[in-house]
Structures are given as structure tokens and as C-alpha cells.
Amino acid sequence: MLKRALAIVAILIIGYWLAQGLSQVPFGQDKMLVSKYYLDHVKEQTGAVNAVTAVVVNYRGFDTLGEVTVLFIASTGVGALLWRKKRKRTAKTKGSVVLTTGSKLLFPFIMLFGMYIFIHGHLTPGGGFPGGATIATAFLLMYMAFTTYEISHKGFEVTEGFAGMGYVLVGLIGLAIGGYFLFDWIWQTWHLGTSNIGRLFSGGFIPVIYTIIGIKVGTELSGIIDNMLKEEVKE
């Protein structure tokens, strides 16, 4: 009881301090400096319509490479922490007919929706990370519905590795053609898709990189799900 009261007092103090500190921040006002430049030049410099994905993949592509690396380290860490010699799925309750049939039926559509999200990252809200998470959701659904379902761990890891290498490779091609890492060679050297900004075949290397990121994030999150749902079996 005393602990709870102390916690409430501490929270009130921290809350007052936060409110005080943030009370001068102007909400809802235009105070853009760098973003003004991005918004004005996003179409001719990157070919993307969605300014957020242009910032994430094109202007700050190196940052996103680091982000992908963090996700990779997390999935490797989960695999290393939960590593056992022999692990199996130990779920005992079988899913009902409605659940199994429904998830079999929905699985391809969820995959398709995830792919739609990451292929259209430069046009609509979304991108590689949400699309990959959606694909992982499809695998989670299969894991929940079937007691014996397993993804092929090896195939997923190889796909993930190749996707990661693909991202670096795209950056290195940019280094070879344009002179710096992650130079947008498709848009600025080849001028592909300059006439159809706002349609699918535009945006330089944003759709390419987001497809790679989507595959990588999807396989990584599915691997995390797989690692967490399996348990050690004693022999």
C-alpha cells in the first residue's frame, strides 16, 4: 500500500515536471525548416509521392540500414537466448474447424496485403516495415491455428541473409555509379519513371529497397515468433 502511494506521488511529480517542460511547445503550428526543403523537392529528387518514405529510404537511407541491422541483431539475440539443443512445438489444444479453415483461407490474402503495402510504399502510407509485420502476422495466424505447423527455419534464415545483402548491394551499386553509398542510381542516373510520378513504376530505388526490407522484416519477425513458440523437449 505504501509502495503504491509512493509510486503515485512520484508519478505526480514526474507528470508535473513533464507538463511544465512541454507547456511551451507549440502544438499544431507550422515550424518546419528541413522538412520544407524535403516537401518542396521530394518529387523531382526522389520521384516518390509519399514524403515520409522518401525521407526514410532516400534521404536517410543509411539510417534505415542501421535500423534493419538493429532488427537483425534483435532476432539473432532472441534466437541465441532461446537456443536449446532440441526444441519442438508443445501446444496441445487443437484449433476448431472454423479457426483452421478460416486461417487457411485468409493466409494468402494477408500475404498479398503485406506485399501490396511494401510494394506501394512510395505511393501510399506504409512501407517495408508494416508490410513485413503483416506478413509475419500471417505466419503467426498459422502457428496459432495448427499445433504442428512450422516454418522451415533454414530457408527463412537464408532468405533473410540474402535480403540484407541485397540492401547493401543496392547501396554499393550507388557508390559505384554515383560516388556515394545509397545513391539513387535508378532515379538520378537512369531517369526511369520520370514521366509517371504517382504511379507504381516510379520512385527510383524506393520500391526495390522497400521490397527487400519487407522480405527481411517478414522473415525476421516470423523467426522470432517461431523461436518464442517452441519449447525444449526433454529426452
Binding site: L18, A19, L22, S23, F27, D30, Y38, T64, L82
Partner: protein, 114 residues
């Protein structure tokens, strides 16, 4: 001007902090951490919002002067992904703790460690 985002973000941060300070179950503490993270993300996103403007997707007649700030949204996208990564790591540590001690109550874990 004080807005709803301001109160919402601070309230989410404080709710998460309360869960972290008071709850004894490790999973509930992790849920509290996630709620705190949501509050911080909401704060960042709402700092970038400009009232009366639309999303920074410059198609269908939206000109650059009608769009909100894209940079906080891009940074929050990064923050969400990092949050997922850290939550996954924390959950796997929780799984290991449960396997070793048979409980998720942090006080009992502390007692069993001796």
C-alpha cells in the same frame, strides 16, 4: 496552445510509468514499457502535426504547403521498429526467467536468487 495531444501523450507516459513502478508481474511491466513508448511516439508525432493540413503524400492535388511535417513521422517509424526489437528481446529474457524460476513475479525471483 495546450492541446489534447499534450495531455494524451503525458497521460500515456504516466500510465506506463505507474505499471512499471507498481506491478509485480514481469509481463505487465513490459506492457507498461510499451505504453510509455506509445506515449513518447504520440508526443513526437503531434509535435510535427500542423492543424488543418493533410498527410505528407503529395498526390491528388496536395501541394507541399498543404502537408504536415514528414520528419517526425519518419523518426517515429524508426522508433516503433526499435521498440519492437527491444520488446522481443525483453520477452525472451522473461521466457528464460520463467523457465528457470517457475514464476514471473519479480519479488519472488529476487528472493529465489538469494
Amino acid at each position: 496552445m495546450i492541446s489534447a495531444y499534450y495531455f494524451g501523450a503525458i497521460a500515456l507516459i504516466l500510465i506506463g510509468l505507474y505499471a512499471v513502478l507498481v506491478k509485480k508481474n514481469l509481463l505487465k511491466i513490459l506492457v507498461g514499457l510499451s505504453i510509455m513508448e506509445t506515449g513518447v511516439n504520440l508526443l513526437l508525432i503531434s509535435i510535427g502535426y500542423v492543424s488543418g493540413k493533410s498527410a505528407p503524400i503529395l498526390s491528388e492535388g496536395i501541394t507541399p504547403s498543404q502537408a504536415v511535417d514528414p520528419i517526425p513521422q519518419a523518426l517515429v517509424l524508426t522508433a516503433i521498429v526499435i521498440g519492437v526489437a527491444t520488446t522481443a528481446m525483453a520477452l525472451s529474457v522473461a521466457i528464460i526467467l520463467y523457465e528457470k524460476y517457475g514464476t514471473l513475479n519479480i519479488e519472488e525471483i529476487r528472493r529465489l536468487r538469494g
